[in-house]
């Protein structure tokens, strides 16, 4: 447990000092969302209808941007070898890195989402559920993304490969995230969608660190 917190603290400190990743992710999120009113036109009816989809698709792409750095820097400077040789299960180290990744990228997305929702004229009934889906959904993105990031380590053009690998796996999060918001806006119950999202998170929580750890070991062989 001490080791877990130690890794989280170190990754947060690294992110804070380098600063670029979180800012880049949020800036990308905001800029891309802002592009849609220009492309679709300012008619509030249309924007309102597609706002949930736009927010979630853009959030997926934004979180993808930062993923290829998740293990890459540690891989290049030899830290990853030492992390693998930590006297604890590698899954715990991976989980700690995922937590730090979520805190530096998922959480800022979550905070930026309601502001952008206003910009897209999203129905106010959807706001609460939007935050909920983001809260449950963005950790899944970090968790599943970690498997992809570990798999493409050492590959040339890993970033592109990573999107091809991971985007299809993000589809369920997208479907149920948007589904929940739409249901809330149309005054139906969002609960089934949210429960499925929570189920996905519950499955990803133990499985993703374990799978990513196996991929990391493979990358170092």
């Amino acid at each position: 447990m001490i080791r877990f917190l130690e890794v989280v603290r170190r990754d947060l400190r690294l992110a804070l000092r380098q600063g670029s990743d979180s800012i880049m992710v949020v800036t990308f999120f905001v800029l891309t969302v802002v592009l849609f009113p220009f492309g679709i036109g300012p008619e509030s009816g249309i924007l309102e209808r597609v706002s949930a989809g736009i927010l979630w698709v853009t959030a997926l792409l934004a979180s993808l941007l930062s993923l290829d750095r998740l293990f890459q820097a540690d891989y290049e400077d030899g830290s990853l070898e030492l992390l693998v040789l930590t006297p604890t299960s590698l899954g715990i180290v991976v989980a700690a890195k995922v937590v730090a990744h979520w805190l530096t990228t998922g959480l800022p997305l979550l905070l930026a989402a309601p502001i952008l929702a206003v910009l897209l004229h999203m129905n106010a009934d959807g706001f609460g559920v939007l935050m909920l889906t983001m809260l449950i959904g963005t950790p899944i993105l970090s968790l599943v993304g970690a498997i992809g990031a570990a798999l493409v380590l050492g590959a040339r053009r890993g970033g592109v490969l990573l999107s091809l690998l991971i985007l299809p796996l993000y589809v369920p999060v997208l479907i149920f995230g948007v589904g929940a918001i739409d249901a809330a806006v149309q005054a139906r119950s969002a609960e089934p969608h949210l429960l499925i999202l929570a189920g996905l998170l519950a499955a990803a929580l133990p499985l993703a660190p374990w799978a990513a750890a196996a991929a990391l070991r493979q990358a170092l062989e």
Partner: protein, 222 residues
């Protein structure tokens, strides 16, 4: 301080390693007892680094078995990690963290009891002549200073078995002499040192292992 109880011998028998479809070495056996040092010798590509990675547990041997006393290393990877320090080619020094922060992180990860780690981090920094650099960020360090920061891990958290892949790279003469003294003290306390080197490192009474003796001739496919 010495290791109590004295650690059992670390040994490998009939080890084989295959890298990229090529047999690097085969039928290799060794034993290191407490207080011992083992120097791996051999030309480039003879498998010194591979053998050290196998010993550390980063690489699974294709054949053979590593043992700590009677216990197979493969059955208890976490225990093996706790009693081993591996120093590879890369220095694992983060450019935006200071020398002390870098070292403290690895020390706590290896030995989470923070109080002891903090104290030993200071002594390790002193020992490797890094005390005046401890607040300098990693990106300002020279290659030799980075290497010393990496080597300081050896003292910052105690472990009986040290595996070092060309530890003298980029070090000046004074640092090499200091490293030799650190090795001697470690062995005096019942520790074990395995290292590969191209430079002469004074390790009195060290055993040597010539890896080219275990290479396998490629068969001609004609």
């Amino acid at each position: 301080m010495s290791f109590t109880p004295s650690p059992p011998p670390f040994s490998g028998s009939q080890l084989g390693c295959i890298r990229g479809g090529r047999v690097v070495f085969a039928g290799l056996s060794f034993q290191v007892t407490p207080g011992d040092a083992l120097v791996l010798l051999g030309p480039n590509g003879s498998g010194k680094s591979s053998l050290l990675r196998v010993m550390a547990g980063l690489l699974k041997p294709a054949t053979g078995r590593l043992a700590w006393g009677e216990q197979a290393v493969a059955e208890e990877p976490e225990l093996h990690a706790a009693r081993t320090h591996y120093v590879g080619h890369h220095d694992a020094v983060k450019p935006v963290l200071s020398v002390a922060e870098n070292l403290r992180f690895w020390a706590r990860l290896h030995e989470p009891h923070a109080g002891r780690a903090a104290e030993s981090v200071e002594t390790a920094l002193d020992r490797f002549g890094l005390a005046h650099l401890k607040d300098i960020p990693g990106k300002m360090l020279s290659a030799g200073q980075k290497r010393r920061t990496n080597l300081a891990r050896l003292l910052a958290a105690p472990s009986p078995l040290w595996l070092l892949d060309e530890p003298t790279t980029a070090l000046d003469k004074r640092s090499i002499a200091e490293l030799e003294r650190v090795f001697a003290e470690h062995r005096g306390q019942g520790g074990m040192v395995v290292l590969s080197t191209h430079m002469d490192v004074a390790l009195p009474g060290a055993k040597t292992l010539h890896l080219d003796e275990f290479s396998v001739e490629e068969e001609d496919e004609t």
